[in-house]
Structures are given as structure tokens and as C-alpha cells.
């Protein structure tokens, strides 16, 4: 129990650091206003979580690797913040694009991961 709690906390921290590093790497290369870093993080994370689900990972593995690690790696709040801020600045097209692309591509990514996980 104590080990699990510690493991969850450490994995939550590592997931968040990974998000920060991947986001920074993508954002340092991007051109334009679209928040590509968060998109890349959320799509790769959705794919990985789908993969774990497709592999039928045991409940404890799913809790540590899936919910704690991949769950912390991806972010819902930044997605919403990066949709709200452009909308507030009058860039409604960018806000709509960020919302719709993340939603559709995220669902495709998790479905693809689940499919591939089922084959493995």
C-alpha cells in the first residue's frame, strides 16, 4: 500500500516532467501560434494509454503506468487554457481548431493504440 502510494506519486511527477520536456522540444521548433506541443503530448499519451488498454494490462500495471504515469503526462487543463486564451483574444478560429483537432485526433490515437495493443 505504502509502496503503491509512493510509486503513484513518483510516476505522477515523472509524467509531468516528460510533458514539460516534450512540450518544450516541440514548441522550440514550431512556427505559428498553434499550441503544437500540448497536441503532441496529448496524442502520444492517448496512443500509449490505448496501447495499455489493448494489451489488457493487469489492474495494478494500468494504475501505475496508465492512470498515474500516462495520465499525468497528458493534460486536459492546458488544452482548455490554450482554447480559452485565443478565444479571449478574438482568435476564435484558432480556438475552434485547437479544440476540434485535439478531440478528433485524440480519439483516433487512443483507438489506434487499443487496436495495435490487441494485435500484440
Amino acid at each position: 500500500m505504502v509502496i503503491t502510494v509512493l510509486l503513484v506519486a513518483v510516476c505522477g511527477g515523472l509524467g509531468s516532467i516528460s510533458r514539460f520536456l516534450v512540450d518544450g522540444l516541440v514548441q522550440s521548433r514550431r512556427l505559428g501560434e498553434f499550441p503544437l506541443g500540448t497536441l503532441v503530448v496529448n496524442l502520444t499519451g492517448s496512443f500509449l494509454l490505448g496501447l495499455l488498454a489493448g494489451l489488457h494490462a493487469p489492474a495494478h500495471t494500468m494504475l501505475i503506468l496508465g492512470t498515474a504515469t500516462v495520465g499525468s503526462y497528458t493534460t486536459f487543463s492546458t488544452w482548455m487554457l490554450e482554447t480559452h486564451r485565443p478565444a479571449e483574444d478574438g482568435e476564435h478560429g484558432l480556438a475552434r481548431q485547437n479544440f476540434a483537432i485535439s478531440l478528433a485526433a485524440g480519439l483516433a490515437a487512443v483507438a489506434l493504440g487499443r487496436l495495435i495493443g490487441g494485435w500484440l
Partner: protein, 131 residues
């Protein structure tokens, strides 16, 4: 990379707290696949409100700090909320044939998250909701 180690430590600490709370909640209040995921819905809503509040306060009210955003924004709110679990839950609803529930989950989660960010922002500015 040249990443600031104290910045990474702040993100790690925040992520451990946010991710820990979310994972703990899903362990005690998780719902079966295909049903309305109250635990994920709750953390995503609260996390959006907090991120709107923290980011606005750090950017517009408080003196510039090096570790406020990494700890509270990137760490706590980023770790507390989750996009991947949200998408997996959506997929499971569709696989269970609950298309109406899936549509409702997207619309309510997105609307609540968006208004949560706007509300957190408005409270700091003592203004009305803007978007």
C-alpha cells in the same frame, strides 16, 4: 537541454501531488468502463478552474516568480487533469454503444473545463467571464 533542475523539481513535486490525487480518486471512486466517469470529470473540472486562476494570478497579479508556474500550473494542474484517460473513457462508451453518453461527456467536460478556466481567470481580475 539546459533545463533548470529546480524548475524540474518543482514540476515533479506538483505532478506527484496532482497525479497522486487523481490516481487516488480514480482508485476509490472509479466507475466501470462505459459509464459516466465522475472521478475524471471532477478532476478535469477542478484542474481547469485552478489553472485559469493560477496562470492569471501569476501573470497579472503577482511579482514574477521562477517556480510558481512550474509547480502549480505544469505540475499540480497538469498532473491533476488528464486528456488520455478522458479519451479512453470516450472510446469505451462508444464501444459499449453509448453514443449519446459519449457526446454528452465531450460536451459537458469541454464546456465545464472551458468555463472553469474563464471563471478562475475572472475571479483574479474581479471581472466578468470573457471568451
Amino acid at each position: 537541454m539546459g533545463a533548470d533542475r529546480r524548475e524540474l523539481a518543482a514540476i515533479f513535486a506538483g505532478g506527484a501531488i496532482g497525479g497522486g490525487i487523481r490516481t487516488g480518486l480514480s482508485a476509490v471512486a472509479g466507475t466501470p468502463a462505459g459509464q459516466w466517469p465522475w472521478a475524471t470529470f471532477a478532476v478535469n473540472l477542478v484542474g481547469c478552474f485552478l489553472l485559469g486562476y493560477f496562470v492569471t494570478r501569476l501573470q497579472e497579479r503577482l511579482p514574477i516568480t521562477a517556480y510558481g508556474r512550474p509547480l502549480l500550473g505544469t505540475g499540480v494542474c497538469g498532473g491533476l487533469t488528464t486528456f488520455s484517460t478522458f479519451q479512453l473513457e470516450l472510446l469505451q462508451m462508444l464501444q459499449h454503444g453509448n453514443v449519446a453518453l459519449a457526446v454528452l461527456y465531450v460536451v459537458v467536460s469541454a464546456a465545464a473545463g472551458f468555463v472553469g478556466v474563464a471563471l478562475g481567470t475572472a475571479i483574479v481580475r474581479r471581472g466578468r467571464l470573457t471568451w
